[in-house]
Every structure is written in structure tokens, then in C-alpha cells.
């Protein structure tokens, strides 16, 4: 039995790597996703446009306006507006994400020791970017206030001391890659394992080789294992390479234990391979299998906490997130990269994977047997 499985595993590897198309399917999507996610799909706001509508003729108003022009990384385009009509036009046409409106009495109020108001108009159609921009603009205004106070340009007032000072833990410079790369480890190994298992049986069905397998002394269980092992190995190796790339190429810290991460990845991939076999068992063509893989992947990623916190998910579908293996993997991976978690911190995120893996593997074996007769 072991010999038969060994033969099948060797054959699977040969089939994956000797076929240019499937070699690409295994190697290219992870590479592509790595590039897209790490450089394209950042949640940072960069190279955005901002509008300045300065009605204040005083020095302070001009100084504040100048500050917005001196952050070219964030705001590469600064549009000067001269009227409300201008403001409306630049926001409407999405030339800018936000317009900072400095009122006529800005300098005057500040010099008189009164509270001055700066209005920020945001484009709510891009709510995420708008929120981030809002953060940036208020930080610029705050910095302006602090320096103005320090230089004595405006009168010191008692509550000026309570300007908050923020410090970020784990990701000190709020580097977006630090939070997305560990999540990506989960997403990509998920995709690869699912693709390899999902397509392998469907490909054999399409080519007619599956019957040739079924008439051989191989038992359904052996075929199942033979199909699962290569997918598992490929995904595991690619996961390892990603960790390496994250640390060496993208400069991420790796603060936790590699062993913990490897262990969690192991259980996670068991669950995913089970799902891949499910897809395999129900689809009769590669096209169906591919559709199955992506139908699964999209919600799995959206509910994984990769981009949005799991806590934000509506309670009605929270349970879906709770059976999404990716959610646990993303959490574990982030922790291991950025913290140095002890096993008891990780455990609550690993044990739910065990029943999920058991369920997917057992049901896929059942599916398999029943599709054969």
C-alpha cells in the first residue's frame, strides 16, 4: 500500500512539474499575488491629490497651507482652490481626495488667543482612503499647532498640553507590509494547496486517465492520499519560501518561533487540502474545479481579517468567519511575525483548525467514494 502511494505521489509531482501549464499554475499566482498585495493593494494613501482652499490672508494660514505642500509622498498633487465652486469641482471629479478649507478669520482668531477652525472636506465615496486622509490631515494640523506654540507664534493656552502622543506597538512605524505580509502567507498557501488538489482529479477526469487509475489496484483512500500529499508539500514549501522572502527581501521582523508557525501551517494545510479534495470530488472538469477554487477563495479572504477586522463582521455571518481556516492562519501568522507569542497565546487560534481539518478530510473521503460508483 505504501509503495502504491509512493508511486502515485511521484507521478503527481512529475505531472505538476513536467506540464508547463500546471507548473505555471503553481508558481506564477503566488509570485503575482505577492507583488500585487505587497506593492499594489496597500491600504496606505500615497500619491493622492489634495485641495487647499485658503481664504485667510494672514501668515499662519499661509504657513498651514504650505505644510500640506511639503508632504509629496502622501500628497503629490496640491490643487489650489479659489472658491466653493472650485472645491466642489475638484472633489466631484476625484482630482483630490480631500480639500482643506482655511477660513478667513484663521490667523486672526489664533493671534487673538481663540480657537480657530479648519475644515476638511472628504470624498466619502472612497471611505477607506478618506478616513486615512483624515488621519493625515489632522496630524499635519496638530504638528502645525505644536510648532506654532513652541515658537511662540500663538499664545500658549492651558489645554495645549493635552495634545495626544501616539505610539504603535508591534508595528512601530505602522508599516503596512508588516501587517499584510504575514496574512499573505496564509492566503497564498491556501490558494496553492487548493489549486493543486482541486485541479488534479479534475484534470485526470478530463484526460480520461482517472478510469485508468480506478481500474488499477489503487483503493480510493490511496488515491486520496496520493493526491493530497503533493499539494501539501508544494504549499508547505512555498510557505517556507514566503517566510524567507518576507524576512530577507521585505525586511519584516520574525519575532516568534518558527516551529510554532510551521506547526500551525501544518494543521491549516490539512484543512485546506480537505476542502481541495471536496472541490475535486464534485467537479468533473478543470473549469469547474477552477471556479470552485475561486468561489471558495474570495469569501475566505474577505472574512479572514486580512483587510478588515473579524470583529467588524456582522454577527449573522460571523459563524462563517469562524469556520474559515484562513482566519486562524492569518491571526497566528501575524502574531508569530510581530510578537513573540507563547504557545498558550497561539493555541486558541490553532485548535479550531483541528475539527475543521478532521471534518473536511473525512467528508471529502466520503464524497470521493460515493462519486466513484
Amino acid at each position: 500500500m505504501l509503495e502504491r502511494i509512493r508511486r502515485l505521489v511521484i507521478k503527481e509531482f512529475l505531472a505538476i512539474f513536467r506540464n508547463p501549464a500546471s507548473r505555471m499554475a503553481v508558481l506564477v499566482p503566488p509570485l503575482l499575488q505577492l507583488l500585487i498585495f505587497s506593492f499594489g493593494a496597500t491600504l496606505e494613501v500615497r500619491n493622492a491629490g489634495i485641495g487647499i482652499f485658503n481664504e485667510d490672508l494672514g501668515v499662519l494660514g499661509r504657513e498651514l497651507a504650505a505644510r500640506f505642500q511639503s508632504v509629496p509622498v502622501t500628497f503629490s498633487r496640491v490643487v489650489v482652490c479659489h472658491s466653493y465652486a472650485d472645491v466642489r469641482q475638484v472633489l466631484n471629479t476625484q482630482k483630490v481626495l480631500a480639500v482643506v478649507h482655511i477660513p478667513q478669520d484663521f490667523s486672526q482668531s489664533l493671534l487673538a488667543g481663540q480657537t480657530a477652525v479648519v475644515q476638511v472636506l472628504l470624498d466619502g465615496r472612497q471611505s477607506n482612503a478618506a478616513a486615512v486622509t483624515q488621519g493625515y490631515t489632522s496630524r499635519i494640523v496638530r504638528d502645525f499647532a505644536r510648532t506654532a506654540l513652541a515658537s511662540g507664534a500663538i499664545a500658549r493656552r492651558p489645554f495645549a498640553q493635552s495634545i495626544p502622543v501616539t505610539r504603535v506597538w508591534y508595528n512601530e512605524n505602522l508599516h503596512p507590509l508588516w501587517s499584510s505580509m504575514p496574512a499573505l502567507l496564509g492566503i497564498l498557501t491556501n490558494l496553492v494547496a487548493l489549486l493543486v488538489t482541486g485541479l488534479s482529479v479534475a484534470r485526470e477526469r478530463e484526460l480520461g486517465t482517472f478510469d485508468q487509475l480506478l481500474v488499477s489496484p489503487l483503493r480510493p483512500g490511496e488515491i486520496l492520499i496520493g493526491k493530497a500529499v503533493p499539494a501539501f508539500v508544494v504549499a508547505y514549501v512555498e510557505g517556507g519560501l514566503m517566510i524567507l522572502a518576507a524576512v530577507t527581501f521585505f525586511g519584516l521582523p520574525f519575532r516568534g518561533s518558527l516551529l510554532l508557525l510551521a506547526g500551525a501551517l501544518f494543521v491549516f494545510l490539512l484543512a485546506i487540502v480537505g476542502i481541495g479534495l471536496w472541490i475535486s470530488a464534485i467537479s468533473s472538469t478543470q473549469q469547474q474545479a477552477l471556479l470552485g477554487v475561486f468561489t471558495y477563495m474570495v469569501p475566505a479572504v474577505l472574512l479572514s481579517g486580512f483587510a478588515t477586522p473579524v470583529e467588524n463582521i456582522h454577527p449573522a455571518i460571523r459563524w462563517v468567519a469562524n469556520v474559515d481556516p484562513l482566519q486562524y492562519m492569518v491571526a497566528v501568522s501575524r502574531k508569530v511575525f510581530l510578537e513573540d507569542p507563547t504557545p498558550d497565546v497561539i493555541w486558541p487560534f490553532v485548535w479550531p483548525l483541528l475539527p475543521i481539518a478532521a471534518f473536511t478530510l473525512i467528508t471529502s473521503a466520503w464524497f470521493f467514494r460515493h462519486r466513484l460508483d
Binding site: R4, R7, L8, D211, Q212, V215, S216, P217, L372
Partner: protein, 592 residues
């Protein structure tokens, strides 16, 4: 009607032209068969005629239009590709309606011609059935009907008879013949040589070149007076087939029932030939009865006969550790899918050294029977053993003794020849030295050694088939299952294939074949004819043929016998059904 002048077509990266300097004139009101094995250039020929491909050299005119300049001829042309694009989720009627609209036929006229075609093709009762649920033969009829909506002057049909059982094939022919009688020019391509005899003209293609063009009788006549039938002892016929082929005067030998069909070289018969040629002629020549030549005899002759070197096989040690006299036993096999009974109490026994054929129309249950015996499906009822192993109790165990060769190439195209053999050998429990010896022997015997490190998918067709056979017999199975093993294969390769099978059989293996192809049925010792899940006849090909012999049909072919038996069986069941129906009526209608 269609004229090819010195047409050559070459596809990129092909080692030879798909068609080489082809010149023919195809006439209206006639059926022209385009005959040749797979890869001979049949489809290229049809696609060129349909204006779907442009020739590299030469000129093609269809209905006096140059296909490269104008496309007006397409309004009068129907082209049915091998896989006609039926919409499987639409009904028969909806498919026809859709094609009528696509062809821009006005609604009223379209409906009228749909009704006409439904009656004409006998698809009327099935008009509401989904196209995906039709049998292979009915799908072809529907495809034909769709392409006839425009009342074409030219019909190009690409292998309409392939994968269709003889009954449906005969119906397709009838449809086409009626069209011909109305003056339509028909081009019918086929890899089946026996279909050639039904055509008015044949264009015989081989490796892209024209072997012959003209009336089929003229081609067949080339082998006249050189074709003989020889009575031989049944148990020796396999050995004799091989021995006789070695003689220099023999072009071709093959088993036909209890006799051997032999085609001799012309010089073997002419008295003035050099003595050495005559001496080499079989001594039995005096006992040979001349017989009418067939198309295939002439075809093999035109290709220069079966190559002698292919026949010499390495001596093999006896195969299989099988000591059972009855290798395959089926007793009352039943397979039900829900309420549908696909196989209804099928029983037979196959002895050592026997070739057993399962024949039947599409959907008759022969594939299901076949799948149960291979261990692919579990029988609902009944009992089956392979090499003494019960298929219900130990299916995986029984599969060890089974070799399987699928109809279409189904090995791993991305793996090399050797990797394929290693994989399957390993899966069947061969390992270490035994595996490498078996592989080396197989590579040598089947002359695959020089190609051992080439991806299987890149092999030429004939070699793919050899590899498939190698995989099926590498582990020396007691039973080899063949699913239409040589349909579409070059007739020379088919001879070679069966010579190898003969040798396996001599060593005591059992071969079970399912086929639609009467030529393959001819190689069997016994045939079981399956219809509607039941065995309606089981005997040797000769006995089956003789059973329908009559003054009107003194020399029935196997296909004639097959069709006659099916008709008889269907009439009987319909009579039974009618009796039951009237009986039910008398009792006050069927209960619900």
C-alpha cells in the same frame, strides 16, 4: 461541385503536410467517402472544402466559387464537424429552431422545415428531449438535421458514423442516401473501411496523400482473385496467422470466423514468376477457396502489405499466475441506477485463451457490464469473479489481475514513456528488479525503447496505442479489457495490435473487447450481443452470421446479423409490452 487542384496544406510544427498535392473532383448527387485512418488528413480535407482553412498551395472551388475569394457558396453548404455544436441544455426542437434563426431562415419557413426534418430523421417523438440526454446516434441525427435546415447543395460530414452503433449508423446512411437522390453532393468521412463500400466514390487518404480516388468497386477489384479463405483448425489459427504473414508472397492474413483470410501478392499467382517466389507460396495454396475481395484487402495491399518485421515478436514467458480454467465468470449480473435497470441478469463464462466480445447499441448496458467486470462499478445483484476473485468482496484485489486499455489515449501525456510504465508497474505491485526487467522487455518488444524518454503526449498515434497496450499488459494480467481498441487506427497498426493480442491469448490470457466496430468483432472467439440490458445472443461470429442466413442474404455480414437480431429482439419486447398494456387496460387502466 467541389474541385481540388494540387492542394497542399501544412500545419506549423508538423513533420509532414496534412494534405499533399491533392487533386479531386467531387460530383453532385453522389456520396463521396473520404476514407483513411486517424491523422490521414480527412478533417483537413473537409475544413478546406468548407472554406474554414486556406490551402498553402493549389486552388479549391466549391459550386464554382473560389473558396479563397468569395464565401457565397456557404449559403448552400452544410458542414457537420466531428463534434457538432449542439446545445445540451436545449431540447431537440429548440436546437433546430436556434440553428434556423442563426441561418436567418424566416420563422414560418423554419418551423415547416423543422417539422419536415423531425419526421425525416425519426426524431419527432423526441422533440422535447434535451439534446444532452440523447444517445450518440440520435445526437448525430440531430446534428445532421440542424445542418440540413438550409436545404444544402453540398454536405460535408466529418466522421458521422464514429461512436454510433450499427443500427443508428444504418439510419444515418439512409438519411444521407435520400439526400443524395435529391441531387445533393455528400462528402462522408470515416475511418471505418467497411463504410467505403456504401459510397459512390471514395477518396482514400493515407498520411496526407491520395491513395485512390474513384468508385470503391474499382479499388476493391485490385485485390480480386488474390483473396482466399482457408479452413484451418480453430486452435491453430492464431499461430497460423502469424506464420503465414511471414511468407514473402503473403500481403495480409486475418482471422475471419473459423477461417483465415489471406491476400497474396500478384506474382504468387502468375505462372511465369521466378520459382523462388512461387516456392515460398504457402503449400496450402491448393486448399484455399477464392473469395470476393473486400475494401480492406485492397487497402492493405495498396499500402504494401503488413510489414514483416512487425510480426516477429520476442518469445515471452507464459503470462499471469492464473490457474483457473474459467477466468471471468459473470452470473446473473444486475446493475440498477435508481429505478433504471442498466444490466439485467447478464451471465457468461470466459475460458483461458479466449477473446470475448461485448457488442450492443449505445446505452444497451455493455459499457456498464464492462465497468463492473473491470471493478469500476459494483454490481447491484449477481456474482462475478475474475481469476477466481469475487468482485463483490475484493474489488481492489481482483483489479490486480486486470489490464485495461481505454478507447481514447488515457495515459499521462506529460510523463515520459518510461515514467508511465514505472508508475503503472509500481501501482500494480511490480518493484525493483522485476519492474525494470518487465519495463525493458516491454520497451524492446513494442519497439518503444528509442522513445522511452519522450513525453507520451508527443508520440505519434500508433505509438501511443502501443504504449497503452504496454501499460495494460505490463503486469501480466489474466484478463485484458479493451474498449474499442482499434477504431480509427491505421489498418496496418490494427493488424500489428491484434497480432500482439493473439500472442497474449495463446499464453492463456483472456481478452474482453467492447466495440461498435464489426472488424474488431471478427477477431473474437465468441460474441455476446447485449440489448436493453440483456444478452440476446452469444456465439461465435460464424454461428451468429449463419443464424440469419437466408436465400435473400446468402452471405450476411456480421453487421447484417447484428441488426437483424436487434430488430427481432425489439419486436419481441414491443409485442410483450403491447400484451401487458392491453392486459392492464382490461383490468381498468394502469394503477397510479
Amino acid at each position: 461541385m467541389i474541385r481540388f487542384e494540387q492542394v497542399t496544406k501544412r500545419f506549423p510544427r508538423a513533420d509532414r503536410a496534412a494534405l499533399h498535392e491533392v487533386s479531386v473532383r467531387i460530383l453532385a448527387g453522389a456520396i463521396t467517402g473520404v476514407i483513411g485512418p486517424d491523422g490521414a488528413g480527412k478533417t483537413t480535407f473537409l475544413r478546406l472544402a468548407a472554406g474554414l482553412l486556406v490551402p498553402d498551395q493549389g486552388r479549391i472551388t466549391v459550386l464554382d466559387h473560389d473558396t479563397q475569394r468569395e464565401l457565397a457558396f456557404r449559403d448552400h453548404l452544410a458542414y457537420m464537424p466531428q463534434k457538432f455544436g449542439l446545445y445540451t441544455d436545449l431540447t431537440v426542437w429548440e436546437n433546430l429552431l436556434l440553428y434556423a434563426r442563426l441561418r436567418g431562415i424566416p420563422a414560418a419557413e423554419g418551423r415547416a422545415s423543422i417539422d419536415r426534418l423531425l419526421t425525416f430523421t425519426g426524431l419527432g417523438p423526441f422533440r422535447r428531449r434535451l439534446a444532452g440526454k440523447l444517445s450518440g446516434g440520435m445526437k448525430q441525427k440531430l446534428g445532421l438535421a440542424c445542418s440540413m435546415l438550409i436545404q444544402p447543395k453540398v454536405m460535408l460530414l466529418d466522421e458521422p458514423g464514429v461512436g454510433v452503433d450499427p443500427v443508428s449508423r444504418r439510419e444515418l446512411w439512409k438519411i444521407v442516401q435520400e439526400q443524395r437522390d435529391q441531387g445533393v453532393g455528400i462528402v462522408w468521412s470515416t475511418p471505418y473501411l467497411d463504410e467505403a463500400e456504401k459510397c459512390d466514390y471514395v477518396l482514400v487518404l493515407y498520411e496526407g496523400k491520395v491513395v485512390f480516388f474513384g468508385p470503391p468497386a474499382e479499388f476493391t477489384a485490385r485485390a480480386n482473385n488474390r483473396t482466399f479463405l482457408v479452413e484451418i483448425p480453430a486452435e491453430e489459427r492464431r499461430r497460423l496467422t502469424r506464420e503465414w504473414l511471414q511468407k514473402p508472397t503473403v500481403v495480409d492474413t486475418r482471422i475471419q470466423g473459423q477461417r483465415l483470410r489471406v491476400v497474396l501478392r500478384p506474382e504468387a499467382l502468375v505462372p511465369g514468376t521466378p520459382p523462388e517466389a512461387r516456392d515460398a507460396a504457402p503449400a496450402e495454396i491448393h486448399h484455399m477457396a477464392p473469395t470476393e475481395a473486400r475494401f480492406e484487402d485492397a487497402f492493405i495491399d495498396a499500402l504494401g502489405g503488413v510489414p514483416k518485421d512487425r510480426v516477429a515478436l520476442v518469445n515471452r514467458t507464459a503470462s499471469g499466475e492464473n490457474h483457473h480454467e474459467e477466468v471471468v465468470v459473470a452470473e446473473g449480473l444486475v446493475k440498477r441506477f435508481g429505478r433504471f435497470t442498466a444490466v439485467d441478469h447478464v451471465s457468461f463464462r470466459v475460458r483461458r485463451g479466449e477473446v470475448f466480445g461485448l457488442l450492443g447499441p449505445n446505452g444497451a448496458g455493455k459499457s456498464t457490464t464492462f465497468r463492473m467486470l473491470c471493478g469500476l462499478a459494483a454490481p447491484t445483484e449477481g456474482h462475478a469473479t475474475v481469476a477466481g476473485v469475487d468482485l463483490r468482496k475484493a474489488r481492489a484485489q481482483a483489479r490486480r489481475f486486470v489490464g485495461y486499455m481505454a478507447q481514447s489515449f488515457s495515459l499521462y501525456g506529460d510523463l515520459t514513456v518510461r515514467q508511465n510504465l514505472e508508475f503503472f508497474g509500481g501501482v500494480y505491485g511490480l518493484r525493483g528488479a522485476r519492474l525494470s526487467v518487465a519495463i525493458r522487455q516491454m520497451l524492446d518488444e513494442l519497439e518503444l525503447a528509442p522513445l522511452a524518454n519522450i513525453s507520451a503526449g508527443l508520440l505519434p498515434l500508433g505509438f501511443k496505442q502501443r504504449l497503452a497496450l504496454a501499460v495494460a499488459i505490463l503486469h501480466r494480467p489474466a484478463v485484458v479489457f479493451l474498449d474499442e481498441p482499434t477504431s480509427g487506427v491505421d489498418p496496418l497498426a490494427r493488424r500489428e495490435f491484434w497480432l500482439r493480442i493473439d500472442q497474449l491469448v495463446e499464453e492463456g490470457a483472456v481478452v474482453i473487447v467492447t466495440t461498435h466496430f464489426m472488424d474488431e468483432a471478427e477477431y473474437c472467439d465468441r460474441l455476446a450481443l447485449i440489448n436493453r440490458g440483456k444478452v440476446i445472443a452469444m456465439d461465435s461470429p460464424d454461428a451468429i452470421r449463419n443464424s440469419i442466413q437466408s436465400p435473400q442474404l446468402p452471405n450476411p455480414t456480421l453487421e447484417d446479423a447484428f441488426i437483424a437480431m436487434l430488430e427481432r429482439a425489439n419486436e419481441a419486447t414491443e409485442r410483450d409490452a403491447a400484451v401487458t398494456a392491453t392486459g392492464a387496460e382490461r383490468k381498468g387502466g394502469p394503477t397510479t
